[in-house]
């Protein structure tokens, strides 16, 4: 609570200290800015421009007007990919958020074994998506994989060959890879909740379940928003894992939008339509990020400092 006094103080002092420093400090940000503009902002603008051109990736780039946009928007394949992207995004969120919240609260406890658990949880994050995909291909083999090892015939399915199962497998493997990371974020969030709030609640007779829903979850509001932003925007970048695991198949059962963009651009050599898909990806990403930020209120850093 004492911290509520500190930020205004800091804010009052800051201008006085750094008055007249703008000119001398601004240049420090220039190298980072140059890199970022050159390889992120210009390409971002470039993809919009390219969406109005025809290019096969090698030859000349010719203007195409809105033809690519029309072709993408009448393509049922794009809508299918878009739908799959949202399915993966939403189902992943629904699975990963409660699980990592629960695990985060659990590992935030101070017993030694929980610290060890948290270390072990982290391991999947060290593997590259390509490595994970390759490992899961072997693991899911009905004859020589996990199913045979556990002698559970129910696990002996053609996981990656059956269109209805493959999407589930993709969502599961994504959870396997990323739940640890979000657990870590929640663990950090839980540790920042002042202990005194719980003590007060305990005195008031609130049980553990109540404490969880009325203290832990509300206190973790910003953590939930951060984690959800990374999770949902992240769903727009799941490329390598799916590319190696299923390559979008069987059929188009796991061809989500980022993969659709790659296959359209670099396999079918249709850079124009692929750029249209890329623009759609950016638009969804920015919309999601802004939407989730809004949920958290406008001045995030400020309000969080005060909440501490």
């Amino acid at each position: 609570m004492a911290a509520t006094v500190a930020p205004p103080q800091r804010r009052q002092r800051a201008p006085e200290i750094s008055k007249g420093k703008t000119g001398s400090l601004g240049w420090l940000a220039v190298p980072a800015l140059v890199f970022f503009i050159a390889f992120a902002i210009i390409p971002l603008a470039g993809v919009l421009v390219l969406s109005f051109t025809n290019w096969d990736g090698i030859g000349a780039i010719t203007p195409a007007g809105i033809a690519n946009w029309l072709s993408v928007f009448v393509d049922p394949g794009m809508y299918h990919a878009l739908w799959l992207t949202f399915v993966v995004m939403i189902v992943s969120w629904l699975i990963q958020t409660p699980l990592s919240l629960l695990l985060g609260v659990f590992t935030a406890g101070s017993q030694k074994y929980r610290a060890i658990l948290a270390v072990l949880y982290f391991l999947p994050l060290l593997l590259s998506s390509a490595a994970i995909a390759i490992a899961y291909k072997a693991l899911l083999d009905p004859n020589f994989g996990l199913a045979a090892g556990l002698s559970m015939p129910i696990l002996a399915q053609d996981w990656l060959g059956d269109p209805s199962l493959a999407l589930g497998v993709v969502i599961f493997v994504i959870a396997w890879q990323f739940v640890p990371f979000h657990t870590l974020i929640y663990q950090g969030g839980v540790r920042q909740i002042p202990r005194s709030i719980y003590e007060a609640a305990e005195i008031d007779g609130a049980g553990r379940v109540k404490q969880f829903f009325f203290i832990t979850v509300p206190q973790l509001k910003y953590t939930i928003i951060t984690s959800s932003t990374l999770m949902t925007v992240g769903a727009l970048t799941y490329f390598d894992l799916i590319f190696v695991l299923t390559a979008g198949g069987p059929g188009n059962a796991t061809r989500i939008l980022p993969l659709d963009m790659y296959l359209t651009g670099f396999r079918a050599n249709l850079m124009g339509p692929a750029s249209v898909i890329a623009v759609i990806l950016v638009a969804i990403g920015l919309f999601l990020a802004l939407f989730l930020q809004r949920l958290g209120g406008k001045d995030r850093t400020g309000s969080q400092l005060e909440g501490m």
Partner: protein, 297 residues
């Protein structure tokens, strides 16, 4: 720095064990669902990793003949030998080059930018900060086609530099976010006293801010390093020669070539992960405390 950010944790550590059975037993009761999920998830995490490691030590015959979850009856390092002979070392060094080549410049430029954003003021720096924050939401995938075009135009296609440059750009936003969070925690009084001692902002940055931001720098370094080391898309699109393959790409092509030899494929998976695991063991505390501080604020 990290400890100052988690007073609740240390406080709890002190009060929990001695202060008695009452609080402790209550905690245990609360965590029944958490505990169940915790141990279940441990199995979900560990079993695949266990499977990868033991299978990589099996012979082909052992792979086909044994229970897949049983430890190898006659462990062999043949698979590893085979992988190491199959250009693995080249992929490894390419990965080292792009990782070091991307991470060090990222740390340098992101640190300077973070210092400027926290310590300076004015519209320009506010704009820079806003731009980087927005950058967090730009998916790298979406910009890959123009990047491909630019890299071709710059005559960098099929070079390691082609992977390094975009990697730096896309690592900047998150690096700046985390470093800013740390620099903001440096008490203003310290900056003030540096100023009174007659230090310029440039000196203050290197002599005061840099040492105090070290945990964040290490964190960001490991995190970005992990990202570049495991990156797949940029090498896939921006390089072509087998001599320039990095590990994830090498794994993928290796898998295509040796798909009948699963133990060898999994040995290559283990080998590609090993350096990262070693680094993780060394820098674990730093990474975890830095990440929690960077994200949960």
């Amino acid at each position: 720095m990290a400890t100052t950010l988690t007073p609740a944790a240390t406080e709890r550590k002190e009060t929990l064990p001695p202060s008695g059975i009452k609080l402790g037993s209550k905690l245990r009761r609360l965590n029944l669902p958490g505990g169940t999920a915790g141990w279940l998830w441990l199995a979900v995490t560990i079993v695949p990793i266990y499977y990868i490691v033991i299978t990589s030590l099996k012979t082909q015959a052992g792979y086909f003949g044994q229970n897949p979850l049983a430890p190898p009856s006659s462990p062999t390092l043949e698979n590893y030998k085979m992988v190491l002979e199959a250009d693995f070392t080249r992929y490894f060094f390419n990965s080292v080059i792009i990782t070091v080549g991307a991470v060090i410049p990222t740390l340098a430029v992101a640190f300077m930018a973070s210092f400027a954003i926290v310590r300076g003021n004015g519209k320009f720096l506010k704009g820079v900060n806003a731009l980087f924050l927005m950058g967090l939401a730009i998916p790298l995938q979406a910009t890959i086609i123009p990047i491909y075009l630019m890299i071709i135009k710059m005559n960098l296609y099929d070079s390691l530099l082609a992977i390094i440059l975009p990697s730096i750009a896309f690592a900047i936003p998150l690096s700046v976010l985390i470093m800013c969070n740390f620099i903001r925690d440096v008490p203003n009084e310290l900056f003030e006293s540096m100023r009174l001692d007659g230090c310029s902002e440039w000196q203050t940055m290197w002599r005061l801010a840099l040492p105090l931001t070290k945990p964040a720098i290490v964190t960001v370094g490991i995190y970005n390093g992990l990202g570049v080391w495991n990156g797949f898309l940029l090498p896939l699109i921006l390089t072509q020669s087998p001599e320039l393959r990095v590990l994830p790409l090498g794994l993928w092509t290796f898998q295509g070539e040796f798909s009948v030899n699963i133990p060898a494929v999994l040995a290559s998976v283990v080998l590609s992960t090993l350096p990262v695991v070693v680094l993780y063991i060394v820098g674990r505390r730093q990474l975890l405390s830095g990440l929690t501080a960077g994200f949960s604020k």
